[in-house]
């Protein structure tokens, strides 16, 4: 399975994270997204006329939507991540998968504006991003009241992987995560998962590993 990937893209990270969590080995093909705009070049446009990344290729299957990639990786390697045990759970997964595009359009657009100077009305994007974070916070508070730590269940699902990256990187776009205690706990729960991987801006929980011991003179 081949992933056309850019290390700083939260959408590409969704696919990498899902693969890591489900134990799938990806063949990574780095794309020069910035400054080369390789995703708009003839080779990648032939694969994905929308000119976006990530692109996941497996045989003659070509996926260009990150939510579809999460479904494919989970269904192939670890179906419990699909979260379709009950009607309620399946509906919640779909609700948050669709919601995740609003995170991309608000927090993701604010991040592109701040980091790559992409055009956009930053005040409007911040407002939309904060509205989305408040919705996520309220959803997580209700899940805690139901005794569940993740968005659709007490187990993590593709919905959590879909929402996590753009939320965790909100500060890159100038949106603070300080006001959201439930999001903070959820982010910790995701970063505590077996197989979790980092991306620039999203670090692992250092406390999960013992303190490194250095002898004097070694540093």
């Amino acid at each position: 399975m081949k992933l056309y990937d850019y290390v700083l893209s939260p959408s590409c990270y969704k696919a990498r994270l899902m693969a890591a969590l489900t134990g799938v080995k990806l063949d990574i093909r780095p794309v020069d997204f910035h400054p080369g705009a390789e995703h708009r070049g003839p080779e990648l446009m032939a694969l994905n006329p929308a000119g976006s990344i990530p692109i996941l290729e497996d045989g003659d299957l070509v996926l260009t939507e990150s939510s579809a990639m999460l479904v494919y990786l989970a269904a192939k390697a670890a179906p419990q991540w699909l979260g379709n045990d009950t009607a309620l759970q399946a509906a919640r997964v779909q609700q948050w998968l669709s919601f995740s595009h609003r995170l991309t359009g608000s927090l993701g657009a604010a991040r592109l504006h701040e980091m790559l100077l992409r055009p956009g009305d930053i005040a409007t994007l911040h407002g939309q991003g904060i509205a989305a974070l408040r919705e996520l916070e309220a959803g997580l508070v209700e899940q805690h009241i139901r005794g569940q730590r993740f968005l659709a269940s007490d187990r993590p699902t593709i919905a959590d992987v879909a929402c996590f990256p753009y939320v965790a990187l909100a500060p890159d776009g100038g949106v603070s995560l300080d006001p959201y205690p439930a999001i903070r706990l959820w982010s910790r729960a995701i970063r505590s998962l077996e197989g979790f991987i980092e991306m620039p801006g999203i670090h692992r929980l250092h406390e999960l590993k013992p303190e490194p011991v250095l002898e004097a003179g070694e540093a």
């Binding site: 508070v141 300080d178 540093a219």
Partner: protein
């Protein structure tokens, strides 16, 4: 004038939002703090600034009974003294290296910070249980207008759908309020979810009132 005179207690977070082995940021009248709980469960409040390079300590991590800075790993004991500087493993940090601390009380599910030396114990709200904390981008007057009641001793009653929420309010500047939502002890899940949604409605109404006041 500070709404919290020296020696009084301020509710900065809910105990449930700070599990053992974690750190979170909080705001106080004397500046931002890193609120953290050691592995054994003791809460502490530090000025949110590592004395080494000024990094926010609330971005750090807790190992055992110490808080470490995310930048260069300097770690601090609950009393604020520096325990360890990883780049100098053989060095015992001098006593002069330390972080300013503030008194903390963790009682009734609420974490209280004292601004200066406390003169009494923090208030108790018997029969009430904390539900969630929220930031409201409006002052207390707008929240009172939205609830249709007046705050009394920092507590605002808000009746909605046959239950009364008790809102513990802390001003954070002129047009921002930290709101802890309390409900009757023993309230079941369905009513607690309804209370959380009611608090969202109240926040929306208060922020709309503030916006229309500003527009006038």
């Amino acid at each position: 004038m500070l709404p919290y005179p020296s020696g009084s207690w301020m509710p900065v977070a809910l105990s449930a939002d700070l599990p053992a082995g974690t750190v979170m940021p909080a705001q106080t009248p004397v500046g931002p703090i890193a609120l953290w709980r050691s592995r054994s469960g003791r809460a502490a409040a530090f000025a949110d600034r590592c004395p080494h390079r000024g990094m926010r300590l609330s971005r750090g991590f807790v190992r055992g009974e110490a808080l470490s800075c995310i930048y260069h790993g300097w770690s601090y004991a609950q009393a604020g003294n520096c325990l360890r500087i990883p780049a100098h493993p053989g060095l015992t940090p001098p006593e002069t290296i330390g972080v300013a601390t503030q008194p903390v009380e963790d009682s009734g599910g609420i974490i209280w910070i004292s601004v200066g030396e406390p003169t009494a114990r923090p208030p108790r709200f018997d029969g009430l249980a904390p539900l969630r904390s929220m930031i409201v981008e409006a002052g207390i007057a707008a929240l009172e207008a939205a609830a249709g009641t007046k705050a009394d001793g920092g507590l605002l009653d808000y009746a909605q759908n046959a239950q009364t929420l008790r809102l513990l309010l802390t001003p954070q500047g002129k047009a921002r309020t930290l709101m802890h939502v309390l409900v009757d002890e023993g309230t079941g899940p369905a009513k607690r979810i309804a209370a959380s949604r009611a608090a969202e409605t109240l926040r929306r109404t208060a922020e709309d009132i503030l916006r229309s006041d500003v527009a006038q």
